[in-house]
Symmetry: D2
Subunit: 345 residues, 4 copies
């Protein structure tokens, strides 16, 4: 059994890790930390876990964490970058679900996250945990930077187009929509049911923290500069991200070519489902599951390729992808703990 | 592997059976029937099942069904009562999720379901599939009548009070609320999102089909006549039933006695969770899971015991309980296929 | 024009007052106070009011408030009881939407609200603002205690039964459900969309602050002690309360008698709609409107009368009823500013 | 009083017309037709209208309709084009909320609506009912073609950019999202609460009927061909459209210039609200109201102008704009019947 610790377990990402790991055949959760809730049994805070865990939240304690085979960080940004170097030095491997190690350019990181980065060494050595791109590096990684939710949906949808060079990388648009759980579990007025229910809006349209992460990934795929506009929106629901992606082909290309390109790119991916040309993926088709489903569209006489890509922001967009990364790191079946279908309806 | 057939698989109960059985370690779904959708792959109708099933819907064919070890009926009432006798004669066992075999008094059945019953023999031999009451009989049953969703939540909440004789059975009130999936997947205007979203109402308040089923179960528990008022309500959400139950104690009784009564009654039940006195069970704490959670309340200077009981109407209220019954019938681990925690948030 | 001030205008009750008063033909809102938002234009916080108000929130200032003809208090409990005596002494009339003056027995008030009452004089002189009972007293009142949301729905539904003596007052049950806006606009984790959406639960089942207010009103109607059990529930929606009420008739009584009783009781009430026997009122049928709709039910062979009563908790349950009371106090058309139908769908 | 008839009143657009006209000071609804519901009182179908209308649905009868000053068509496409010529000949004016007269090119119309057009004459003479563009022509119009919901939100957002020539018209993207009421009130499985709730998806991404209407309007504004990609999405809520619009500026332009351009364009429009640069309009800020609110955004170092535009699809996107058009046609105050603020929360 792999001995796992979770730092910062009171948020939605933390409870989602616990939910997934509850039935993982090869994992034992040894420790879950929370400064604010230390002493409280996790099943008191999350009654869906009654009968699954006797564990209580504890104060974060590096010595105990260091005895884990793997530590997940489900903390706000700025925490992992301080604790990770010590844990790795003590022999623990880490999957960081926060943003601390996702951005290579630390000036960019500092600008968007409002503080200087404190671990340039590990920012350089972290592997970006998108298995569809970095699977081999993840196997050996000491530290995996688990991707953001929007970046996962957007990158997976754009990758085949950019890697193939079929589209012009200068005019990409990613219009993305997320359920409210993406904002975390904090007592903010703007996230009340009375504020979000039965309403819809864009937010961060002048610039969102996930934009540099998206650009970094797309530029790697394109092998050069990309021009991408990313606008997130808030959905009156809990789980799910849909990203509608727009790109212009350089030269005329047939439906079959495009569809074939995507199917081939993801043929061996256990969690990416390319639906038939013209399908419309629904977020509920991935609710609670680690899948990303996508489909292609094109409008008459138009050079624009449209990709609709859906994930569950808490699963493939966070905790599920983290477990997928753990499975890869420890040589387990990649789908272990992640085998159940989505909850529909 | 147990070979399973599903009759009437296009509704929410059918897809829920498929979702649960997709990861059941001992079951192979051999056949799923639908007259209207014959020929269509199930994963085309329910994209959450893409990658899990190659199966397509087929016309119902008794000869093929008879080769199954177990057949689930997820049909409207009136179908199972015609097909079941032949299937059982051919050696197949049956779990009927419809209402055909739940009511002992066939005059009552005929009145509420608007047609004469066509299988008095099997109505008499069917075992009512509430494992918390009839586990031993279910083991040997040829035919299990899977309980209704409301009756499951209401009976489990009232049972300890009635079995113990602590309350007056003449003045019971069951105020129950259900998500919209309980009404099935049919194109009715009254079930449109535009009609149900952001609104709430009672329905069937002058009499609902689940009332005689509830009364039958409560009278068995009480050992005599009960007076029960049952009012269902429609919630602007998809899954979940909450029943708030009101009963008056005959004599003063302490909190501890009441709590102990419930805890003892369900101590060995894998799917009934008695929460601490004063807790408020949330439907989300059982979403997608086969649990029933309940808690007790009492108001100052009042003889009224209040029980709040929650289930997922599609799981413990339908497909999950059906799989639990199958597990019992075939000597499997009772929790097989039903081990995952609820999806929260 | 009546010059109106609002104390505590940043919550949902405050914005609802502004929404209703925006088109009231006889009212000018002269002042709206908020300590925390002083200086901010109300239309910045509530963009639905852009173009309707130039007003900004100001620090509460008794001298300016005293120049108003009427002051609404939309404050947490404990504020109005301190400010009201001074304002009335200065000649201003008051409608208090908080709980400060609703309960006659100040020991009961102190127990449920956790502080001693500071204005016994005005607690005794306040008129309870349920126009269907106290219309004449409201006309002359200096101070109106606007009823709570649940108490409005529950009292209106029970009143004809208790006033007529048709039912046994010892065994009343009020099972009530409210949208999330009833909890106000504060950054509490428990009211996040991620916590409330797609879920349902009882709360306060062992005792809720609205219970003594309900009991006080029902006892007045019954002319003696009543035994009432009241359980509130939280709905995954924003606006609307439904209360399902249960009472037992003393002697057999016909449908027509019951229906006639209710129709006669409310024949001249502009905001109470008795629907035909057996109808099921929906909360959306009163969304944004000041109406209370109700209907009666009875189940076969049962002595229990069931009343389903719906209101919009922010309108008839708060701001709308407050404006109705103001209209009565100032001799205006009772429906002024409250004439628009509900927003359906 | 203007005597008004409504053809096809059972859908959401029909009830919304009734809701708005219920408090319109200058209008009397003389007739509302429905073949399927003839004889039923409108208040039985829509209980929010109890007490407002004694009217019942009637069979459509051209002779009676011809006695109205104005007839609204709230019918599926194909109905108005057959009835309108006769009504106009009889002296009645018409506002058609269906798509019959919106498209100038009747071959395009026939292709998207699947039938030949039957009134080329009136297709040529109809005035497109977007008051912000065609107010003067609407005053004198016999027939107004009321715009579609998406086209209203999209055109109002793009107009200032295209009219000014600031952006390149070849690469426009309109990513639009609508509440479920836009799909009407028909018993389709795909519009059930169980299918739509808690989920999100694109639809019609390969081509939607509103695309040619949008293109026609944008080309008129641009004075030439435009390349526009339009993808609609379905929101798990009832009312509201948000359109996020993307366009590239030809030459560098300052924030102030852009903001000033929009503010000047809509300075005298009673129902278009240009919010401050960087605001994020919420659909709830226009719920039940005839406003369109919009705001501009730009991301660092990007030539892309982002416009977020929100309307209530049933009001400014249908019935409200129809009443606005009626007000203009009859020389009434343009805001008559449309003066109330949006319902928030």
């Amino acid at each position: 059994m792999i001995k796992v610790g979770i730092v910062g377990g009171t948020g939605y990402t933390g409870v989602e890790l616990l939910r997934i790991l509850a039935t993982h055949p090869e994992v034992e959760v040894a420790m879950i930390t929370s400064r604010s809730e230390a002493g409280q049994p996790v099943a008191d805070m999350y009654p869906n876990l009654r009968g699954y865990y006797d564990l209580a939240f504890t104060e974060p304690d590096e010595a105990t964490l260091a005895q884990c085979d793997l530590v997940f960080f489900a903390t706000p940004h700025g925490v992992a970058m301080r604790m990770v170097p010590g844990l790795i030095a003590a022999g623990t491997r880490v999957v960081d679900l926060s943003a601390d190690f996702r951005i290579r350019d630390l000036d960019v990181w500092a600008k968007w996250y409002g503080m200087p980065h404190e671990s340039a060494e590990w920012a350089g050595r972290a592997v970006y945990g998108l298995p569809e791109v970095f699977r081999e590096q993840i196997r050996e990684a000491q530290l995996v930077a688990n991707p953001g939710c929007y970046p996962t949906a957007v990158q997976l949808g754009f990758l085949p187009l950019l890697e193939s060079g079929l589209v012009n990388p200068a005019h990409l648009v990613a219009d993305a929509k997320s359920g409210a759980s993406g904002a975390g579990r904090q007592g903010k007025i703007g996230m009340l049911h009375g504020e979000i229910g039965e309403s819809f809006k864009a937010y961060g349209a002048s610039g969102h923290r996930h934009l540099p992460e998206i650009r970094q990934g797309l530029e790697l795929a394109a092998g050069g500069r990309v021009g991408v506009t990313f606008v997130p929106h808030l959905l009156p629901m809990i789980r799910g991200i849909e990203a509608t992606l727009y790109a212009e082909v350089r030269d005329p290309v047939s439906f079959d070519t495009l569809q074939g390109l995507f199917e081939k790119r993801y043929a061996n991916e256990p969690f990416v489902d390319v639906m038939p040309f013209g399908a419309h993926p629904e977020t509920r088709s991935v609710r609670g599951a680690n899948h990303c489903r996508m489909a292609l569209h094109r409008q008459e006489d138009s050079p624009v390729i449209i990709v609709s890509s859906v994930i569950d922001n808490l699963v493939k967009g966070a905790a599920g992808q983290a477990v997928q990364n753990m499975n890869i790191m420890f040589g387990l079946e990649e789908t272990a703990g992640l085998a159940a279908p989505a909850l529909l309806p």
